[in-house]
Symmetry: C2
Subunit: 193 residues, 2 copies
DNA sequence: TGTACATCAGTGAACGCGCGTTCACTGATGTAC
DNA sequence: TGTACATCAGTGAACGCGCGTTCACTGATGTAC
């Protein structure tokens, strides 16, 4: 009943949501503030009011993404206690929050040194490391750092290849299954068969 | 002594080289034909003459990248016979040919269905698969496809994280060493310790 | 309950810019005879 | 060796466009008294 109030209510959020949609449609580098304003139904100058400029907007989106990822991984680890599940959760996150992920790992598009990004990103990395730390020693091997790095590389690479369309071909469909199989390949050395 | 001949000689190559440089400096999505023309010292319309349009230029660059990658991996496999070396070579390629790699795995920027890209890309995938096929059965496991996918995910993810600046922090410097350690983590299950 | 005032949220016109693409053109090169 | 002609490679002016950003503004909201 108030179709176009002067005050939007939560334009901050609306612009971010529009950005997610726009990233999915035109890619993270083609997003324009004017387009987001159009999508949100406000004047073209409004987004700049909330985010300063384009980089500011994408920085906020990246920080949000890392925060969500950290929470997601932590939740899965606490609930399942399985690092395999955490790996699969990483892949799921990337696919389900494709837009955020695409921005997060393209730091040339935003200000990667902004405090909120740095913090959220560290939290996500910590969640992964905590997961690795729960694995039995014979799986982790002599250097936990290497194991963590391998785990991160594996799930990140899998997600990136999937998102880039490089995987789907030979592999028919089911993402979870593929992700699990690949993660198992890495981490089921000494554990139960 | 012929500072500005009307005919460049090999403008095709010169524009591609300029594109590599430009990608390194401003990112693959910010490359503009006019900038490449400037870098190559020709009129702004010249690049379009050779590549049709911007997408055509990037498509050519992607195809060239996949071709080089396929050759590189094949060469290393034949020379060393070690799949571990192939994995490390993949990472090296991504780092040494950062510009090509960045374009190759951003198919929204180019025409991924063009024949030369499809072919070169298949060749690179085949080289990786051949590598996996040479591993002892107890390492590959029951499903060679999964092993190949895991291998690709691992090296690709490692390279992507490295390029994105996500790795260098905790890990001090030496790329080859890190890449080897990570690849060994994946593939030294049953093999010699 | 009412009024004055500060602050917040969003507007819309204007700017200057670099871009992709088109197009008629021109200079250089190659080929046929 | 010379000439005519076709083709190739690159030019430069022009077009229209969407963009980021600035800025004076205005409408709505919140607060002090």
């Amino acid at each position: 009943m108030t179709p176009r109030a002067y005050h939007h209510g939560d334009l901050h959020r609306a612009v971010l949501d529009a950005a997610v949609q726009a990233v999915l449609e035109v890619g993270p580098s083609q997003v324009s503030l004017r387009d987001l304003a159009r999508r949100a139904g406000v004047s073209h100058a409004a987004p700049a009011y909330h985010f300063g400029n384009k980089a500011g907007l994408l920085t906020t989106l990246a920080a949000e993404g890392f925060r969500m990822l950290a929470e997601h991984l932590t939740e899965v680890l606490e609930r399942t206690g399985s690092f395999l599940e955490v790996g699969v959760a990483y892949v799921h996150f990337a696919v389900e929050h494709r837009a955020h992920t695409q921005v997060m790992f393209r730091p040339d598009l935003y200000d990667a040194s902004r405090a909120d990004v740095v913090q959220a990103r560290a939290a996500a990395a910590a969640a992964l490391s905590h997961g690795v730390a729960t694995l039995p020693p014979e799986v982790v091997g002599p250097d936990p750092k290497v194991a963590a790095l391998a785990a991160w590389s594996l799930v990140h690479g899998f997600a990136d290849l999937w998102l880039g369309g490089a995987i789907s071909e030979g592999n028919d469909g089911d993402l979870t299954e593929s992700a699990q199989a690949v993660a198992r390949f890495l981490f089921d050395k000494g554990t139960a068969e």
